[in-house]
């Protein structure tokens, strides 16, 4: 089943990349989220899968009584999800503000910081 999930991760990454290459900022954001989900799944899979046994020690026990899912990648992913969410929120609001003041939602037309047709540098000393 690890391999099936590995394939799924590939699908996530591919779609994320594809959307990031589209020029619409909102699509790119969605692509970013999907890519982030793909990476989270990748960490999850790389930590090897265990079905349905949560890494929680049953009450009253000192140690779990059987194999449990690998907790470390879960903690890492949790951190990554949170960070990804923070980034997503910021980029979303940024896209919104950029749309407001640049009147552009398309990266093709966002050309203020690096203007189009800048004149050549002066040939003088």
């Amino acid at each position: 089943m690890d391999y099936v999930l590995a394939g799924l991760v590939g699908c996530f990454v591919a779609l994320g990349v594809y959307l990031l290459l589209s020029r619409s900022v909102i699509r790119m954001l969605i692509g970013m989220t999907i890519l982030g989900n793909g990476v989270n799944l990748l960490i999850f899979t790389a930590g090897r899968l265990t079905r349905e046994i949560a890494p929680i020690v049953p009450a009253g026990l000192e140690q779990p009584d059987g194999p449990i899912a690998n907790p470390l990648p879960q903690a890492l992913i949790l951190t990554a999800i949170v960070i990804g969410f923070a980034m997503f929120s910021f980029l979303l609001v940024l896209a919104f503000r950029a749309y407001q003041s640049l009147d552009a939602d398309n990266t093709d037309t966002m050309r203020v910081a690096e203007p189009v047709n800048e004149p050549n540098p002066p040939l003088s000393y």
């Binding site: 990031l20 900022v25 790119m28 970013m32 890519l35 982030g36 990476v39 990748l42 960490i43 899979t45 790389a46 930590g47 090897r48 000192e62 140690q63 470390l72 990648p73 890492l76 951190t79 990554a80 960070i83 923070a86 980034m87 910021f90 980029l91 940024l94 896209a95 503000r97 950029a98 003041s101 640049l102 990266t107 966002m110 050309r111 203020v112 910081a113 690096e114 800048e118 050549n120 540098p121 002066p122 003088s124 000393y125």
Partner: protein, 519 residues
């Protein structure tokens, strides 16, 4: 029953060891406190300055201890490494963290001069402290995932800073900056996941121990991913586009802070990851590294020549500097890594100062484009001196600081005795000449030339308190650049003491004190 010894550190931690982690914690808590105080008027500035001074004090202590007795580490929560998160300072980490704090102090003072009436309501001081926290954490951490976290702290703080003011160009720049940088950290995370799947550990010292026995092909893939991720953070060619797109848009103080800190952290992380952690994979990737270093060295100064927007041009100089450090990674001899380390130190100071001077120039002329500037040489002696010294330092002209790393890197390239090394050396030389051409043209256009037709001559020197703060902060940085260039002996002492740790990290590993002994 569980035995405790293998899980926890049993010795008492002396309070003086806390200097490893205190700078970071102070920054974080300082940021939190300034955020809470932000509606209480001008307090935040004083508070932030006090915090940064305390951080500097801690880091000076740390540096002295490292110089005295080698790398120093602390593992959080008393858990034995690799179970807990280690913080470990070697000479580079401690030195860069200190430099970063000094630069931040200068920037804070400058910003106070520039922003004047504006208080900290917009969270500026919190974000500067958070940025410093991220940078400090990245320099000092001994755990890869933790490095990712501090990267993100740095990144989001820089997002906040880059949009301060919200002019359209800033937003455009921020979109590019934001997407590309976030993507870089995502790639880093991707590599981390794979690395964990391969090695089962995240502690740097532990990675050094187990990496040699892992599947070399997969390790090479992971190393390539790390190279890409850190290359993006460091703005190495060809994935450097975000830097010239964004650095000139925010207020000059913010540019200065970014130029001093962000790319340096990226390139330092690359050095750590490839030279120290995965040397075997680095060897496999060497052709790529050489190519990237060459391209960065050669293409970046062209941008500086072509650009008329002053701060954009300086952005290309920053990239050129990254190319120089890449040389040290591509040719990791002792001279190479020493030169790279020294260059990072130099670049943190010089690039920050350069942007601060650019800010001063912009406020004096009211222009951002060098095509519309002129006449500053006659109008402002201090500004001329500062800019001139910095341009020379950037181009590596002795006796300024930039010369020494260039010397070491050239020695590394030529000492290699191979055609690759010579190629790298030639590229370094060409880079120096091109940088000088770019710098001298900027100098001629902005300073020497009379103000062009239709442009008002530079305003007379303002003499209020803000102007002095700004000039003083910049001057202090430049003074450090000059002094360190004239008396570099201390730096070389430190390098002689600390640089071998990069090539043979046994002292570093020993300082971290892994469970199960050293490799």
């Amino acid at each position: 029953m569980v035995e405790l010894p293998p899980a926890m550190i049993e010795t008492l931690t002396s309070a003086s060891d806390w200097v490893v982690v205190l700078p970071l914690v102070l920054c974080l808590m300082g940021a939190a406190a300034t955020l809470m105080l932000r509606k209480s008027g001008g307090l935040t500035f004083i508070f932030a300055v006090l915090i940064v001074c305390a951080v500097i004090a801690c880091e000076v202590t740390l540096l002295l201890r490292v110089l005295d007795s080698g790398p120093l580490s602390m593992t959080m929560g008393k858990w034995l490494p690799p179970f807990g998160i280690s913080f470990a300072a070697d000479i580079f980490g401690a030195g860069f963290a200190l430099t970063a704090a000094v630069v931040t102090l200068a920037v804070l003072v400058y910003a106070q001069g520039e922003r004047g009436a504006e208080d900290g309501r917009d969270g500026f001081h919190s974000m500067v402290l958070l940025l410093l926290a991220g940078v400090t954490g990245s320099f000092l951490t001994g755990d890869l995932f933790n490095l990712y976290v501090w990267f993100e702290v740095m990144l989001i703080a820089s997002f906040g800073l880059i949009v301060l003011g919200g002019r359209p160009a800033q937003l455009d720049g921020a979109v590019k900056y934001g997407f590309l940088n976030f993507l870089a950290t995502t790639f880093f995370l991707l590599a981390l996941g794979l690395l964990y799947g391969l090695l089962g550990t995240l502690n740097m010292a532990d990675i050094m121990r187990v990496a040699p026995s892992a599947n070399p092909a997969a390790m090479a893939g992971v190393a390539a991913l790390l190279l890409l991720a850190f290359g993006m953070k460091a703005a190495a060619f060809p994935v450097n586009a975000w830097l010239p797109a964004a650095y000139h848009t925010p207020p000059a103080v913010v540019s200065a802070l970014f130029a001093g800190l962000l790319t340096k952290v990226g390139i330092y992380a690359m050095m750590r990851a490839l030279v120290v952690l995965l040397p075997a994979s680095r060897d496999l990737l060497e052709p790529v590294l050489v190519a990237v270093a060459l391209a960065t060295l050669l293409v970046a100064p062209l941008g500086a020549i072509a650009e008329t927007n002053l701060r954009r041009a300086i952005g290309f100089l920053v990239i050129g500097g990254v190319g120089s450090v890449l040389v040290g990674i591509a040719v990791p001899s002792l001279a190479g890594v020493s030169g790279a380390g020294l260059y990072i130190f130099h670049a943190i100071l010089t690039m920050t100062a350069l942007y601060l001077v650019a800010g001063l120039i912009e406020s004096r002329t009211g222009q951002t484009d060098s095509r519309h500037m002129g006449g500053l040489y006659a109008a402002s002696t201090p500004l001329s001196v500062l800019f001139f010294v910095l341009v020379l330092a950037t181009a590596g002209v002795p006796p300024f600081l930039g010369f020494w790393p260039k010397l070491l890197l050239l020695q590394a390239g030529l000492g290699e005795g191979s055609w690759v090394g010579s190629l790298v050396a030639v590229a370094l030389v060409v880079n120096a000449v091109l940088t000088l051409i770019a710098g001298s043209r900027l100098w001629a256009h902005i300073f020497w030339r009379a103000a062009p037709e239709g442009v008002v001559a530079p305003a007379p020197a303002p003499s209020h308190r803000g102007a002095w703060l700004r000039l003083g902060a910049t001057g202090a940085l430049v003074a450090i650049v000059v002094a360190a260039g004239l008396w570099p002996n201390g730096l070389f002492e430190a390098l002689r003491f600390g640089a071998p740790d990069l090539l043979d990290p046994s002292r570093y590993v020993a300082a971290i004190g892994l469970a199960g002994g050293a490799p």
